[in-house]
Symmetry: C2
C-alpha cells in the first residue's frame, strides 16, 4: 500500500494545525504530508507582532508555537522558503519554486490538498508606498524589518496609516518605544470595526494617551527624502513628517492561486467552503484560515475575518476531516477584542451597518457601568452598546469600550449570540458576581435590561 | 379609590429592589408600599463586608446602595428597626415590633405581601460560640461589631471557622490587617463549593499565602478567657489560640415566619415559589432573595443559593409583577466567583456530587492553560475542570482556579449551560482572542476539546 499524498499550501496557523491534526490521526505509512511555506517562519502568532515591536514580548522566537524542525520531527515534510506558483487541479499537482535555491521549480502530486495561503495587507497604490521605511506588519519577516528600521532611525516620529486593530495596536507599540505617533484614518472615527459612536470613545481615549488621531482623511502618498527613504506622509490636507510609516489598513484574502485555478471565491475574494471546510464543489480540497470566507451565524452571510483563533480552529477541523474523522465549523459571530494601552475594545455580532445590510430592523442602546462593584478598588467605567432585533428582541451584537475587565466580557454576548438568545433572556443570565469581579448587575445585564425596554417601547 | 397595600418583609436587596420597581410602575395613589427592616441598614452589599473589614473599601456607607431616606423620598414607607413577628395570612396582616421603641407592637394589613427575609448564618450549638470575640459577617451590623473587636484587640491571631466563600474572603481580609490566620474546615479541602481536586488547588495556594488551613477537622468549642472573651477554638485534635473568631460556615434561609404561617418550604428550608416568584399556592404573596429556593436549570431540582445578584434579580421581577407587569425568573445554573488574595475561584453548574445526586452519568476532564498568550507578560496558569454528560456530551459544569483573568471566564460556561450546549458545540465558540486577553485557544475551549474527546472515548 502506498501512502496517500496530502499537500498543504501555507505553513502558518491553519496549514500546520491541519498537518498536525492529520498526523495525529494517520501514520506516515498511510498519509504522507508535504507542506510548502514561502516565508522564513512557520506556525507563529502574527497577532503578537505589535507586542514584539513594542518591547513587551521578546521575539521572534517567543512568537513561534512550533518550529519547522519540530514539525519535521513529527513526520511532516515542511519545505520552507518554497512558494507554490500554480495549482493544477486536473492532474492533481502543484508547482513550486524554491525562493533561496536559484528558483528551482518542481511539480508535486497530491491526493488531498489544503489551501492555507493566508491574507495579504492592503497596500494602496500610492506614490512612495514601496519606499524603505514603509512597513506592513503581517509576517514575522515584516516585524523584523520594522524593528531594523526603528533601531537604525535617529528620529522619533511615526505615522500609522489606518486605525483598525493593527493600527491602534501599532500605535501603542510605537508610543511604548518613545515615538510621537500620528494615526491617519479614512473613516469618521478610529476602529471602524465598531459603530462610530463607540469609535468616538476610542478616539477620545487615544487623545488622552497622546496619540494624535486624524480622522476622515485619505492618504495621498509617501514623501521620500534625498536618501530615498520615507520621510513624510501626505493627505489631501496636510503633510505629516515620519521617520517610520506603518501600514495598518487591514488585510484581504490571499487567493491568487485559487482564483487562477477557478476555485469559488466570495465577495471579499476569500475562498468559499462547506461546513467541513472543503472548498465548495471540490471533494479533495480543503481551505481554512485567513484565505477563506466564513459563515456568519448572525447575518446569514459569508464574510472575511482574518484571525488566528479561527485559523487554528479551521486547521484542527480540516486535519480531522483529512485524517478520516469528522468535524465541522459551524460559523462565527464576529467576535474581536483588542487594546490600546489600558483601553480595551471588543465587539461581537453585527454593527449597525451590518444589520442594515442584512435587512434587519433593530434597536440600539448604550449603557455606562463599572467593571467591578462601584465601591471596590479599581472599578472602572465601561460602555456597552447592544443591538437587538425589532419585535423578536434577538441579540444582534454587542460593542464594549472600557478599561480592565471590559474586553473579555464580550464572550458572554458571543455565547448568547451563538445560542440565539433574546436580550430579555439575557437579563436573567446567571453570571459570576462578587465585588472584585462585577457589580451586582453585570454591565452586560444592565445593557440587556435597557435593550429589552427599548424593544418593548418600539412596539410593532 | 383607596390605594392597594403592599407590605414587604425585609429591607435589603430583594425587598427594596421589589419596592423600587413596584414604585416605578405604580403611583403612591394606586399602591402604598410599606417595608419593614429589623436591622440598622437597608439596601446594602453584604458581599462587600470582607473588603470593608480588610480595609480595601471604606464602610459602611460605601456599601449602601440606597439609604432609608432615599427610599422614603420615593414614597416607600420604610420602617427601620422594626421586626415582623407574625404573618396572619387569613386576615391579611402582619404583626410588627419596634426594636428601639419599647417593643411597641402593631398590626399592618396588606393586599399583597413580599417576603424577603434573607438568610441567617449557620452557628453551631457549641460551648462558647456566643462569647464576645466570636463574629458572623452576614450584616453591616456584624461587620461593624467585628471591626470594633479588631480595633480593640492587641493580639494578631485569628481563627476562621469554615473555608467556603465567606471563610476564604475573611481569611484574605484578616491577612491584609496583619493577622496570623488559621482556617478550620470540616471538609477534606477548602471551598467545598468545588470538587475536592479543585479545592486542593485552593488549599495549596492558601498555604503559599501564609494562611494555615486545617482540613477535615470539626470545631468542638470556643474557649473563653478570664475576661469572658473568646481566646481559642478547639477541635477534636487541637486548640488554636484566637484573638478573634470569625464564623464563615455559610447561611441557611431565614424562613421562621413563613414556616409558622404554613407556607411551603423546600429541603433546605427555603421558600418554594413559581417562576413569577410567587409563593407556591399563593396568589398575593411573593418571595425572593436569600430566603427562597431557586430552580436549577442543570439538575432540574430546587436549591438554596444566597447571592446578592440573584436577590436583586428576584426583587426586580417581583416588583414588576406586583406592579402589574410581567416578568419571570427562569432559574439559575449555579455560578459563583470569589478570590483569596490573587487567587480567583469560580464555578458554575454541577459538581460531581451534584451530578451523581441528580442521577446523571458524566465524564470529567481538567486542563491547565494560561489566561493570556503564553508569551504575553502576565500570562498566568489556570485550571479548568469540566463535567459533561455521558453520551449526549451536554455541559454539566465548570470549575476554574487560577490567577488574574480566570474567574470571570466562568461566564462563558454559565451562558453555555443556560443554552444547553454540548461540550463539542463549545469547541467552536467564537470567543474574544488577542494575545493580551487569551491564548489562541481560550482555556475554556481547551477544556471543551478535552471533554469532547472524553465523551467520545467513553463510548456508549
Amino acid at each position: 500500500m502506498t501512502a496517500e499524498q496530502l499537500v498543504i499550501v501555507g505553513g502558518d496557523a491553519a496549514g500546520m494545525a491541519a498537518a498536525s491534526q492529520a498526523r495525529r490521526l494517520r501514520k506516515p505509512g498511510e498519509l504522507a504530508i508535504t507542506a510548502f511555506e514561502r516565508g522564513h517562519f512557520t506556525s507563529y502568532s502574527a497577532c503578537g507582532i505589535p507586542y514584539w515591536v513594542g518591547g513587551a514580548v521578546d521575539g521572534p522566537d517567543a512568537l513561534i508555537a512550533r518550529t519547522a524542525a519540530e514539525h519535521r520531527a513529527r513526520d511532516i515534510d515542511l519545505r520552507m522558503r518554497t512558494e507554490v506558483t500554480e495549482l493544477d487541479l486536473d492532474r492533481g499537482r502543484v508547482r513550486t519554486r524554491e525562493l533561496d535555491n536559484g528558483g528551482r521549480e518542481t511539480w508535486t502530486g497530491f491526493d488531498k490538498l489544503v489551501l492555507a495561503t493566508g491574507a495579504r495587507p492592503r497596500r494602496p497604490l500610492l506614490p512612495g508606498i514601496d519606499a524603505p521605511g514603509v512597513h506592513g506588519v503581517q509576517t514575522l519577516d515584516d516585524g523584523q524589518a520594522l524593528l531594523d528600521t526603528l533601531e537604525a532611525s535617529a528620529g522619533r516620529r511615526a505615522v500609522v496609516v489606518g486605525a483598525g486593530y493593527i493600527g491602534v495596536e501599532m500605535a501603542e507599540a510605537l508610543i511604548r518605544r518613545g515615538y510621537r505617533v500620528t494615526v491617519l484614518e479614512r473613516s469618521a472615527q478610529p476602529m471602524s470595526t465598531l459603530d462610530p459612536d463607540m469609535g468616538a470613545l476610542v478616539h477620545e481615549a487615544m487623545c488622552t494617551m497622546g496619540i494624535e488621531t486624524v480622522r476622515g482623511t485619505a492618504v495621498t502618498g509617501v514623501v521620500t527624502g534625498t536618501d530615498g527613504r520615507a520621510c513624510a506622509v501626505t493627505t489631501e490636507d496636510a503633510e505629516y513628517p515620519a521617520d517610520v510609516v506603518v501600514l495598518g489598513m487591514g488585510v484581504r484574502p490571499e487567493t491568487t492561486l485559487a482564483a487562477a485555478a477557478g476555485l469559488p471565491l466570495g465577495e471579499s475574494g476569500g475562498l468559499l467552503t462547506d461546513l467541513a471546510m472543503r472548498v465548495r464543489g471540490q471533494d479533495h480540497i480543503w481551505a481554512g484560515g485567513d484565505c477563506v470566507e466564513v459563515w456568519d451565524l448572525v447575518s446569514g452571510r459569508t464574510r472575511h475575518i482574518a484571525l488566528g483563533t479561527h485559523a487554528n480552529k479551521h486547521g484542527q477541523i480540516i486535519g480531522t476531516n483529512v485524517g478520516g474523522g469528522y468535524a465541522t465549523f459551524p460559523g462565527v459571530v464576529g467576535t474581536a477584542v483588542s487594546k490600546v494601552c489600558d483601553l480595551e475594545i471588543a465587539r461581537t455580532g453585527l454593527l449597525e451597518r451590518h444589520a442594515e445590510a442584512a435587512g434587519l430592523r433593530f434597536v440600539t442602546t448604550t449603557v455606562e457601568a463599572t467593571s467591578r462593584a462601584g465601591y471596590y478598588p479599581g472599578a472602572r467605567p465601561m460602555h456597552v452598546k447592544m443591538l437587538a432585533e425589532h419585535r423578536t428582541g434577538r441579540l444582534l451584537g454587542v460593542q464594549i469600550v472600557g478599561r480592565e475587565g471590559a474586553g473579555k466580557r464580550v464572550d458572554i454576548a458571543a455565547v448568547a449570540l451563538t445560542a440565539g438568545m433574546t436580550v430579555e433572556q439575557m437579563t436573567t443570565l446567571d453570571l459570576g458576581y462578587a465585588p472584585p469581579f462585577s457589580p451586582v448587575w453585570d454591565p452586560v445585564l444592565v445593557a440587556a435590561r435597557k435593550a429589552t425596554r427599548a424593544v418593548r417601547e418600539a412596539g410593532d
